[in-house]
């Protein structure tokens, strides 16, 4: 489609007061744009009409709007299938820069030519961007998108997720490695009440869930089954199943060795299995995966200091459920009915030598089990020794009701020792209690409130046939749990299409598992429907653009495959990348990584940004600097808008180019800019590190890592490394932005103008 351009300049909101609109229009004319109009209030009905008339009457299909930030008036300037490019004159120029500067000796002020130049350059850059961009079209794979959902794990969470997805209209396969459904919940004697007044315990209704799942027309249950591998991508998964506990050639091979010296061993292990690029013809097709494999109890033999393994009557809370489910409570050593039990909280949890985290449910479990003890008779006694009693939310009511039972003794305290007498009775010695003294209690049995260990701690489970490896990644940040780094987006991980729920994600109670399952089911459905429509999922949800590769020039360097934060690329034996667009989050990190510059999006590519860099003049006069700022559009760019709204001022020497993520920044842009005599480049991106804020997880961190290459580029041009700097900015740090820019300008002045000017 041939483009017909129209440039529309708004002179409202101080733009017309401070800028020479005629000169701005002249820029458009010089760029051979056939239509350039201005309006006193472009966002008013009359202003919008002006544009609409040109679209209808003049055939304008590429609109450049020089007005306010693209973050506002987005709905007003939406003309359907028309390419719209926004030039940010209001926040980006007039509100954030001094229009006048102190002039001659008398201190009189004059219009700063740099101010007008800034606006003109932004118009130039906007026109070039529009020239180099195309409207994206949705990704349509050759293979049909499959809408079936795979749920791994048949406990309460997995069953709930299966039911939620099936009741939402989707077919589900539920796999469970044991020979029956139900998981831990089926082995519980009772659970704390889910309903007001929250003071009772009740039998968990797992059986009705098992029945519902087993009889649901849309749910296919497979017990004693495991996933050997999941190949493909969202909407296009090929899943190979296997009988639980067996090994098959379709088991996923281990990830290529990272450490030197391990290559041979890893290669040998890998040789036993089919390569990840080999397609299993018997694999079944799925659209998305829900991981609900839950938890396993912490290995209590590591708690020998608390007598486990040494004294038969020291048991764990999991064993206590089994005892209680059998009927009356009798102790392991001699089958004697249990009349007194001491519960020891945090048996391993909140202890960096064992589990550094809190298991969130064990206080409630022990209170509940104390009730089991009290059911043994009026004389039966329960003692609970805790660090902090943790019964959040409505569970406080359950705690309170237990506090009122005189047969339950609760105190904070540190367990000093547990000893056994000849009759196998136990003595627990506790210090620092609330009654102010060291106490000893003699009991029939001790229950250790042991914690939850996620099943993902030691195994990949999802067994993805991905070049970056079979499991979810970053789990070390979450103590092995299959959790998300994002507070606002708890289902987002670095593997598109796989959504974890329940205790594999965080320690949680049964009702919370059920809710979490519903959320994961929704995310799985959403991912499938997005793949079906050919659009991206979070955080660029709805984006139709996707990366395109010009393979003829690929040198098989594998950087894109290795650096993609979402493992979206696999590669063949030669190292040629195989893109999987439905795994892709459209951050452009691959584009930033590619040394051959063969990766780009229709509306965001190397040529586009490179041309923008080259679209404006670099003045050669003394004392006039030009600095380029590549700014993350997610956090840093809105922060700059906020700074502008507050009236904070930036130096007029800086030209801002927003980027999807700093990870998408290709070193060639820096080289291009530097070769033109631009004095410096500042990169503003999200915070990285363990608590990263990058919406694409690794983008800003990778950009920082690439600064080594940047230093080399600068060196090759005989330029100082101080000319390029990366600064981390959070969205609420708008007050710091002028200082960041001013300091960089000072740095430029210290280094001096670029010697490349004029070449």
């Amino acid at each position: 489609m041939e483009k017909k351009y129209g440039v529309y300049i708004c002179s409202g909101c101080d733009i017309g007061n401070s800028l020479d609109i005629e000169k701005l229009s002249a820029v458009a004319a010089k760029s051979k744009v056939p239509i350039c109009k201005s309006h006193p209030i472009l966002c008013s009905p009359a202003g919008v009409d002006l544009i609409k008339q040109d679209i209808a009457g003049e055939g304008v299909n590429t609109v450049i709007i020089a007005a306010c930030s693209p973050r506002v008036m987005y709905d007003v300037f939406d003309f359907g299938p028309v390419l719209v490019e926004r030039v940010n004159l209001r926040e980006g120029v007039v509100w954030s820069h001094e229009a006048v500067k102190a002039g001659g000796e008398g201190g009189e002020t004059a219009v700063d030519p740099e101010f007008q130049m800034l606006a003109e350059d932004y118009v130039r850059m906007g026109i070039v961007k529009a020239q180099k961009g195309e409207l994206p079209e949705p990704y349509k794979p050759e293979e049909e998108i499959n809408k079936k959902i795979l749920v791994i794990g048949g406990g309460v969470t997995g069953m709930s997720a299966a039911l939620d997805a099936a009741n939402g209209g989707y077919e589900v396969t539920l796999v469970e490695k044991e020979n029956q459904l139900g998981g831990f919940a089926a082995r519980l004697y009772k659970q704390a009440a889910k309903k007001y007044p929250y003071t009772d315990i009740e039998t968990p209704d797992v059986q009705s869930k098992i029945n519902a799942v087993s009889s649901h027309a849309k749910i296919d249950v497979r017990t004693e089954t495991e996933v050997a591998r999941i190949a493909g991508a969202p909407g296009l998964y090929h899943v190979s199943f296997k009988p639980a506990g067996t090994e098959t050639e379709w088991d996923v091979p281990p990830k290529a060795a990272a450490a030197e010296g391990e290559e041979a061993a890893v290669a040998e292990a890998a040789a036993k299995y089919k390569d990840i690029m080999t397609l299993d013809e018997n694999a079944e097709r799925y659209g998305a995966v829900i991981l609900a494999t839950g938890w396993k109890p912490y290995d209590a033999t590591k708690l020998d200091a608390l007598g486990f393994g040494k004294y038969p009557n020291v048991i764990t809370n999991v064993m206590m459920e089994e005892l209680a489910s059998k009927g009356s409570l009798v102790r392991p050593s001699d089958g004697k009915p249990v009349k007194s039990v001491a519960f020891i909280q945090c048996a391993g949890q909140r202890d960096e030598k064992h589990l550094p985290y809190c298991s969130a449910t064990c206080c409630i479990t022990s209170l509940k089990q104390a009730k089991y003890v009290r059911e043994q008779g009026d004389e039966a006694k329960a003692f609970i020794f805790y660090k902090d009693m943790r019964t959040p939310g409505q569970y406080e009511n359950f705690y309170k009701s237990m506090q009122q039972d005189p047969g339950v003794f609760l105190t904070k305290g540190d367990v000093v020792s547990i000893s056994e007498d000849a009759r196998k009775n136990l003595t627990v010695e506790v210090d620092n209690t609330l009654i102010g003294e060291k106490i000893e209690v003699n009991v029939d049995m001790v229950v250790l409130a042991t914690g939850m260990v996620p099943t993902t701690q030691d195994e990949a489970i999802i067994n993805l046939a991905y070049r970056q490896g079979p499991g979810l990644i970053d789990l070390e940040l979450f103590n092995g749990f299959a959790d998300s780094n994002f507070i606002c987006f708890p289902y987002e991980t670095r593997r598109t299409g796989v959504y974890a729920a329940g205790t594999v994600r965080q320690p949680m109670t049964i009702p919370m598992c059920e809710e979490d399952a519903a959320g994961a089911a929704l995310k799985a459905i959403q991912c499938i429907e997005s793949a079906y429509r050919g659009v991206a999922v979070h955080p660029r949800s709805g984006d139709m653009s996707y990366p395109d590769f010009f393979f003829a020039r690929c040198t098989q360097c594998k950087r894109c495959t290795e650096e993609c934060p979402f493992g979206a690329l696999d590669d063949d034996e030669k190292g040629t990348p195989k893109p999987n667009p439905t795994r892709c989050r459209r951050c452009g990190t691959c584009m930033g990584a590619c040394p051959e510059r063969i990766i780009g999006f229709k509306n965001y590519n190397i040529d586009m940004i490179g041309s923008m860099v080259k679209s404006f003049e670099v003045p050669e006069e003394d004392g006039i600097y030009r600095v380029l700022a590549f700014v993350c559009e997610n956090d840093a760019y809105p922060a700059m808008d906020m700074a502008a709204m507050k009236g904070l001022k930036f130096p007029a020497a800086i030209r801002v180019i927003p980027v999807r993520c700093l990870g998408s920044m290709n070193t060639v842009w820096i080289k291009d800019a530097m070769s033109r005599g631009i004095d410096g480049i500042i990169l503003l991106g999200c915070k990285y590190g363990d608590d990263y804020q990058c919406h694409f997880a690794k983008g800003s961190e990778l950009a920082n890592r690439r600064m080594e290459n940047v230093a080399e580029t600068l060196k090759s041009l005989a330029l100082e490394s101080e000319r390029v700097r990366l600064v981390q900015v959070a969205i609420d740090e708008y007050d710091k932005i002028p200082q960041i820019f001013n300091e960089f300008m000072e740095q430029m002045e210290a280094v001096g103008p670029s010697p490349m000017k004029g070449f």
């Binding site: 209209g169 077919e171 550094p356 994002f486 606002c488 809710e515 929704l522 499938i528 608590d691």
Partner: protein, 422 residues
Amino acid sequence: MTSGTGPVSGTILVVGGGISGLTAALEAAEVGHEVILVEKNPYLGGRVAQLNKYFPKLCPPTCGLEINFKRIKTNPRVKFYTLAEVEKVSGSPGNYDVSVKITPRYVNEKCVACDACAAVCPVTRENDFNFGMDTNKAAYKPHNMAFPMQYVIDGKVCQKASCAKCVEVCKYDAIDLKMEPKTLDLKVGSIVWATGWKPYDATKMDNLGFGRYKNVITNMMMERLAAANGPTGGKITRPSDGKEIKKIAFVQCAGSRDENHLSYCSYICCLASLKQATYVAEQYPDAKIFIYYIDIRTPGRYENFYRKVAANPNISLIKGKVAQIEEDAATKDVTVVAENTTTGNKIHEKVDMAVLATGMQPTLAGTNIAVNAGLNESGFILADPQSGVSACGCAKEPLDVVSCAETATGAAMKAIQTLVRR
């Protein structure tokens, strides 16, 4: 092998535009459903828009809000109304009639947020966004990252036609002081309640002196004090005289876990105080910080955050419930009286400022909002998703932001099921 029916017809109504409501609305819309979101404030974002940072990452809530607002901007399936409250719900699952009352904003969509109206407005009002710690004009921007980025006129204090200075000065024809309340009649298939929470009224705890002593504040006020867009520009100083902080006390369970106030535990207050202790420690590295608690409740991996904060030698955690707060009338310092339950010692700690870790009360408690679901004795919604109505976030139980987003995503799932069942 292709299965599933894809999106079905029918609209989902989400009540409440805080983090839970935003999440429920967007998650459903991104599946492909039509969603209407109604919010009673003039802006979206709810309570989290008032927070300075989230625990445990200490990251700004506006970061996630910005993404969610971007999702709204780019998704034609979400329609939202601000200053909108549900008045009446009737009908049955799959087929509800809902009346929504829209309070006039007096500012239309032509507003470009230029501030000219506020500059000429002669009326000042207590800034409720900052809990009355500063004032703004009757024509005001709710806060500097407000979405939608439009001004609003407080109809309760505006002098309307007798003044109308803002109308004269507005170049964009954006002010209409004659705007009338409107009622929207909506037909929806399912409803998600995400009406959130309000801070428990701290003046009800007579012994803690809130409302009488200026230097006793609530944890939500502390968020505003620490926020860059707050009344002090982010500098934590005490309200009586703007003095810097040398000693500060956090009073846990101020209202929560108390039969006379809120019987339940509000879940987030321990973490909020630990987080706020980091705000103080960052601005005043030498300040002494005391946290008085019954139990420190940092479930799951939040324990790692607790351990990190507690490692600061200037932060003391004392097990003991605060019985009383007294004020020195001359200096306005406050003395926190408690018993250390581990040592049995009585404590009288004089500090510059005390922060009450006030609990969460469901917004619906004590109101007459027409929820078509039951409320429990505390005002939390008892929704049965089978009924076409679901609840999420803090309207349902006290939760952190992560769990709000989880339950909201789950509520979107339940809402969709109702449409599928039709």
